[in-house]
């Protein structure tokens, strides 16, 4: 599903964020990306959805060579990806329903599909009853669940998330994790950068640790491994 072969990322200012990363994430995997601050986790996530270009090496996502994608092909890469950020990124002047529907509107789905899918994913994150509310009227955890609903509404093959629980308390984080687990069980690959030690330790998923831009550890059923 995601394949890196000797991938490096050096930013314009000379900062080496990733060096010579080679790894393989097969379909259906649930991967935690951990590591100290500044190690290169976010950079790794950004490479996957072609926010940043790899400086060296080959990166294949869902069969596409991301490094050689034409700008006009980027949208089609992203239609197969669901992206979740730490800061939710909902539109404040649209309702919950409209926020989720927006992701389908902009890829020109039919009205009927939109109605069906949006209701379905709102059910899945347990917030169908908030459909008419605005994001400002929701708690942080609820807003993140809406963001997840938006990320999966187009049936992506991979969901990538950069510290999705970074702003949430432990209890709420667990609600979010259960949703990701549920999505993963339905066959969607999950790649998540996180600092959430208790979650990583408890869930026993694959853990890739990045330190100083390199892979320090890649464990099946791994643990967080740092003292935060």
């Amino acid at each position: 599903m995601i394949h890196l072969d000797g991938v490096s990322k050096i930013y314009g200012n000379g900062c080496v964020a990733l060096s010579d990363i080679t790894l393989d994430i097969p379909k259906g995997d649930f991967v935690f990306v951990v590591g100290p601050s500044g190690a290169g986790k976010s950079t790794f996530i950004k490479l996957i959805f072609r926010e940043e270009l790899p400086t060296k090496g080959k990166l294949i996502v869902n069969g596409r060579n991301v490094g050689e994608l034409e700008p006009s092909e980027i949208p089609y890469l992203r239609r197969n990806l669901g992206i979740v950020f730490q800061d939710y990124r909902l539109l404040p002047n649209k309702t919950v329903y409209e926020n989720v529907a927006f992701a389908m509107q902009v890829i020109e789905s039919s009205r009927r599909d939109i109605q069906k899918r949006v209701s379905h994913v709102l059910d899945l994150v347990g917030l169908r009853h908030k459909a008419k509310n605005f994001p400002g009227e929701l708690s942080g955890g609820e807003q993140q669940r809406i963001a997840i609903a938006r990320a999966i509404v187009n049936n992506p093959v991979v969901v990538i998330a950069d510290e999705p629980t970074g702003n949430l308390d432990p209890e709420t984080s667990w609600d979010i994790m259960r949703i990701f687990e549920r999505i993963n069980r339905d066959g969607t690959t999950i790649v998540m950068a996180t600092h959430d030690k208790s979650v990583v330790d408890a869930m026993k998923k694959r853990v890739i640790a990045i330190e100083k831009s390199r892979i320090a550890r890649d464990q099946v059923k791994g643990v967080y491994g740092y003292e935060d």
């Binding site: 959805f49 700008p71 949208p75 890469l77 992203r78 239609r79 990124r89 539109l91 902009v106 020109e108």
Partner: protein
């Protein structure tokens, strides 16, 4: 493109126009002013051109006779004129008739002539038509030599001056129009820049969920085109109204001035202005999209 998508684009564009009310107003006003001036220049240049060619096609020679000729002498001159090569028509216009025509031309301002009392300073004359414009000059020069002829005048000079004037207006107008078009372009691109800025969050999300660049661009492009079209519409309405009034006024006071009739003349100019406005709008937003959206 799906109808639903088009609906969405138009809705987005309209809501932006409303949200940036003041900037939208400024843009429409600038476009309207620029295009109004463009329209006025078009009206002027085309009318001057039209006048020049109308006059050119009607070039005739007025042969003024000396005072105090006998009827016989005058008839003699007439006969000699007819024999000049190219002359196709010779009409005698006596002093009285000339005065009557002059009065007619003056219309309501006839009162000016009262100062003359009974005196009639206008000479007897022949109006001579020549088959080809190129022959006018030679014919006039020949007539000037005839005994009893005071002067022979033709409109060539006026025509040439009119053409020269048209050329000047055209060059001068072009400079002003280029300048104004740039101003309109600048203000529209600024308006769109503000819209892009107000919507940067939305644009970001659209990119993440895989909207194509064209899907993201369209609402902004439409907004620019609406601004351009709106400005052009204001200019067109104003131009149509003023040209109508102008024609009416000229008809009442300076009836001999050959203005181009309002329709379909103004309709054609309107089409030009509306297309220009829309294109300026589209260009303006393209500039902003290139610079501020990187899509």
């Amino acid at each position: 493109m799906k109808i639903r998508t088009m609906e969405y684009f138009i809705k987005e564009a309209l809501s932006s126009l409303k949200r940036n009310g003041l900037m939208s107003f400024a843009s429409v006003t600038t476009v309207a002013l620029s295009l109004l001036i463009l329209g006025m220049f078009l009206v002027m240049v085309l009318n001057l051109n039209n006048m020049a060619s109308t006059l050119e096609s009607q070039v005739q020679i007025s042969v003024y006779l000396q005072d105090g000729l006998t009827d016989h002498e005058m008839r003699e001159v007439g006969t000699r004129i007819t024999k000049i090569p190219g002359v196709v028509q010779v009409n005698f216009v006596g002093k009285e008739e000339a005065m009557n025509r002059f009065k007619e031309r003056l219309g309501e301002q006839q009162g000016l002539l009262n100062a003359l009392g009974e005196a009639n300073p206008l000479p007897n004359a022949f109006e001579v038509k020549v088959d080809k414009t190129e022959r006018v000059k030679a014919a006039a020069q020949a007539m000037m030599q005839f005994k009893g002829v005071e002067n022979a005048k033709f409109g060539q000079e006026v025509v040439e001056q009119l053409f020269a004037l048209t050329k000047m207006v055209r060059i001068f107008g072009l400079v002003i129009i280029v300048f104004l078009a740039l101003a309109a372009l600048f203000i529209i691109s600024n308006t769109i820049r503000i819209t892009v800025f107000a919507r940067r969050k939305e644009i970001g999300i659209m990119k993440y969920v895989g909207a194509t660049n064209w899907f993201i661009r369209w609402p902004f492009l439409l907004e620019g085109m609406m601004l351009g079209f709106g400005g052009a519409l204001v200019a067109v309405l104003f131009l149509n109204e003023t040209y109508g009034i102008l024609i009416h006024q000229v008809y009442e006071t300076l009836a001999f001035l050959p203005l181009i009739p309002q329709y379909p003349f103004i309709t054609n100019i309107s089409v030009v202005l509306l297309v220009t406005g829309t294109v300026i709008g589209a260009l303006g937003s393209t500039i902003s999209l290139r610079r501020y959206m990187r899509v």
